[in-house]
């Protein structure tokens, strides 16, 4: 079904299939993360994971505006970006469990998913660590005239890193096709960003002559519409862009960060979860606009749940890499 709907309801050119696809992607990320939390709680997953619950509309809205061969760089809280850019559930779970079948043969884990096939230059466990990489990918795109753009995802915490301003300066000087995408989820680890960020962060981009915008990161339609406009502009050669998506991390800094009351209240979390949940907002909108009914959305939920169960089964039963692989891949 590709019924075009009125522009008043969404961005120009967007159809119902695309809206439902975005909803489904968000749902997939949410259910993926819930499963990750469960695997951690049941001690089936080694190490930790930084969950993306609450921020799904950002990755999905932005990646929906990208082409398959456009580049992204991701963060420690990166599962959502990888899935939104097209990663497969089974190989994602396999990587998180340290299995040979994972995206990085088990050598990267939760914080380092990388996949050339989907343009994913890699999640990065150094805050702001990938700003140079994304800028370099944009440099290549411009030099080789490939028409690709690069999106550098980072959180508000990365606004404290000097590297970001070094590369923004160069990207502006050389008009590189890169989008600096700040997911402002209000907390850098266990600290409110209001305690760490001075001034208005949008003006930081303005200092380099980079056009900055902010958008409600809980509304996937708004994120997509804004990202589409920004991506198109950057792809046309207008130089870099800075986009702040205002969002919220529903859960802790990582799966083990359960008692959070010393840095934020349960009431605040509850308010975001009930009033500002990107999935709920989109589901309500789809039904109120009669683009999908609850039965259809419930069916989608069941389908995605089943896909996730299969993917987890695959990952759990997949073998670990044999120990003789430990010294492979150090050098190309």
């Amino acid at each position: 079904m590709t019924t075009a709907i009125a522009p008043s309801k969404t961005a120009p050119g967007i159809d119902v299939d695309q809206l439902l696809r975005m909803y489904r992607r968000m749902l997939m990320i949410r259910l993926f993360e819930e499963k990750v939390n469960e695997l951690y709680t049941r001690a089936l997953m080694p190490g930790l994971a930084h969950l993306y619950n609450g921020e799904e509309a950002v990755a999905v809205g932005v990646c929906e505006a990208l082409k398959p061969d456009d580049y992204i760089t991701s963060t420690h809280r990166g599962h959502g970006h990888c899935l939104a850019k097209g990663a497969a559930l089974d190989r994602m779970f396999a990587e998180l469990l340290g299995k040979e079948a994972g995206y990085c043969k088990g050598k990267g884990g939760s914080m380092h998913i990388a996949d050339p096939d989907t343009g994913n230059l890699g999640a990065n466990a150094i805050v702001c660590g990938s700003a140079g990489i994304a800028t370099g990918a944009a440099f290549t795109a411009k030099r080789l005239k490939t028409g690709q753009v690069a999106v550098c995802f980072f959180g508000d915490g990365a606004m404290g890193q000097g590297l970001l301003y070094e590369v923004m300066n160069m990207a502006a000087l050389w008009k590189l096709p890169v989008i600096y995408l700040c997911e402002n989820n209000l907390y850098g680890e266990y600290t409110k960003s209001s305690e760490t960020l001075a001034g208005d962060i949008l003006t930081r981009a303005a200092g380099f002559g980079i056009e900055g915008q902010s958008v409600d990161g809980q509304d996937v339609r708004k994120v997509y519409a804004t990202a589409k406009e920004v991506v198109d502009r950057v792809r046309r050669g207008a130089g870099p862009a800075f986009l702040v998506c205002n969002t919220y991390r529903f859960l802790g800094h990582h799966v083990g960060d359960v008692n959070r009351e010393y840095y934020r209240s349960k009431q605040e979390e509850q308010l975001w979860k009930t009033e500002r949940d990107p999935l709920k907002l989109m589901a309500d909108w789809l039904t109120s606009e009669q683009l999908a009914d609850r039965t259809r959305l419930d069916r989608m939920h069941a389908e995605v749940t089943s896909e996730i169960e299969k993917a987890v089964e695959f990952a759990v039963s997949a073998p670990y890499p044999s120990v003789d692989k430990v010294a492979q891949d150090v050098y190309a």
């Binding site: 580049y71 760089t73 994972g102 995206y103 990085c104 043969k105 088990g106 050598k107 990267g108 380092h112 990388a114 996949d115 050339p116 230059l121 890699g122 990065n124 150094i126 660590g129 990938s130 700003a131 140079g132 990489i133 994304a134 800028t135 370099g136 990918a137 944009a138 440099f139 290549t140 795109a141 030099r143 080789l144 690069a150 000097g162 590297l163 070094e166 590369v167 300066n169 160069m170 000087l173 492979q328 891949d329 150090v330 050098y331 190309a332």
Partner: protein
Amino acid sequence: MPETRELTLGEAVREALAEEMRRDPRVFICGEDIAEAGTVYKVLNGLVEEFGAERVLDTPISEAGFTGMAVGAAMTGMRPVVDVMFGDFSTLVMDQMVNQAAKIHYMSGGKWKVPMVMRATLGATRRSAAQHSQSLHAWFCHIPGLKVVLPSTPYDAKGLMKTAIRDDNPVVFFEDKMMYRLKGPVPAEDYTIPFGVADIKRAGTDVTIVATSSMVQVALGAAKLLEQAGISAEVIDPRTVWPLDEKTLVESVKKTSRAIVVDEGYGRYGVTAEIASVIAEGAFFNLEAPVKRMGAMHVPIPFSPPLEDATVPTEQTVFEAATALCG
């Protein structure tokens, strides 16, 4: 017969870069003051005129930024050569080199490659004081995923630079700033020198002097003095400290039974420590004396000439160490 000219080490590096840039359009250079200025040591003079400002790219003074940009460019199809000017500025690029460039191939399960070269200088005695005189190459040797090159002659510099640019891994290439004007024969034709293959710069039988970068020239000078004293020194240059040609070093010491390791980096936990341990493990039963290590004195490099000169090994101190070892 192929043409061989006398070039300086600086000219040899430039020729290697120019030839690789002609051969492969993906190769570009970026760094501070590298285009019209041709770098502070004029090593890159003339390249911007031939290749243009897009391929000889002057950057802001943002070492971490342009090194990080090079990592991303390398991953996506370019072959960047990053000019970090002074090795002392390694501190500024360390996250990009150590946490990013070095690990990306491994962390991605071998899917992304980072074919880039980071060029930097090392070496003291240029009266540049503590923040422009260090030899910090050992830091990079400590990190799996990086390769570290230390040429000691114009011939080696050209051949090793070509290999570095063609390598699919991040390579750190250190040039001793005191050697840029050192002349030597360099073939005009295309040649490369493989990594991990040491070069016996001078054959000898009584003592092995393993030396790197400008310390090779110091060791060769000492070997002449030793010859006059009746001691035959073998001088070996590993050329790349990682990968390290352990076999050639060990074989030499098995023959001579005595070894001195000379490197301009700090001795403690440094290149000399690693090489001495390789020799001790590989030739222990052939050694007539403990392996002697000589490196920069464990002090920040001082400015005052008599103080600075006292911090680095010289022909005379290497000569004295060797005679003591063979006594």
